[in-house]
């Protein structure tokens, strides 16, 4: 985040003061976000993570792939 009274952006130590929610099919969730902000993939699909910092909102799209279906750059060469 960037503040007018600070020269450089801030990267928060922890996300506990950001209210995180997920827009997805709640009956069949794609991801789970834990209290530390870690994203856990549950199944293939897409979801949107919404962050609310004191009323200011940002969103990021998340795509979960299967191991075999992931784009080349996301595949592990070795397990």
């Amino acid at each position: 985040m960037e503040y007018k009274d600070l020269k450089y952006p801030i990267y928060l130590n922890d996300s506990s003061q950001i209210k995180l929610s997920v827009q997805q099919d709640e009956a069949n969730p794609v991801i789970r976000v834990d209290k530390n902000g870690m994203v856990h993939a549950l199944r293939k699909g897409k979801a949107v993570i919404v962050g609310d910092f004191d009323g200011v909102i940002d969103r990021i799209a998340v795509s979960v792939y299967t191991k075999e279906g992931a784009p080349a750059g996301y595949r592990r060469v070795h397990d």
């Binding site: 503040y3 600070l6 450089y8 003061q17 993570i49 004191d54 009323g55 200011v56």
Partner: protein, 168 residues
Amino acid sequence: MDRSAALFVSVLTLASSACLTSAPSYAATESLSAANSSSAETQQDGITEAPQRISVKGPEGDVPLGNPVELTVTLAPGELLGELEVVQSSTAGFSPSQGGGPARIVREDGLTKTIQIVPAQIGPLDVLIFAVYADRAFARQIVHLNVVACAKGLKRFYLNQGFPGPRR
């Protein structure tokens, strides 16, 4: 390295060790330091610790991230080497890479100075305020603040990939 530069390096070493070793209490915002528990001047590496030469009053309660906070600093009489300095140190792990340096003095009334700091990390934050006197006395105080989320003054907020998790 001249004498004043060498003294300043020693003082910074003392200052940073103070940040790391002080036992914080975050039940409420308070203005005290480990050094302040004794009013006696003590010597280390040719520098005299002089906690009684500085006192700091901080705000009560939580303070907002990225917004100016005023602290009232009262110094004992004497010639200072350099300026009143500020160091921010987050006890949660990462220390902010900004928000430190020479104190921004917004008001002055004799030996009492009102300084302005801008908290640059969220959660428990130690603010070390120190001054070095010409007689090699080092006066310092640590103010414990609890910094909370605040949209005021926020120019941009964005989610990113975050820091990498622990390697297994």
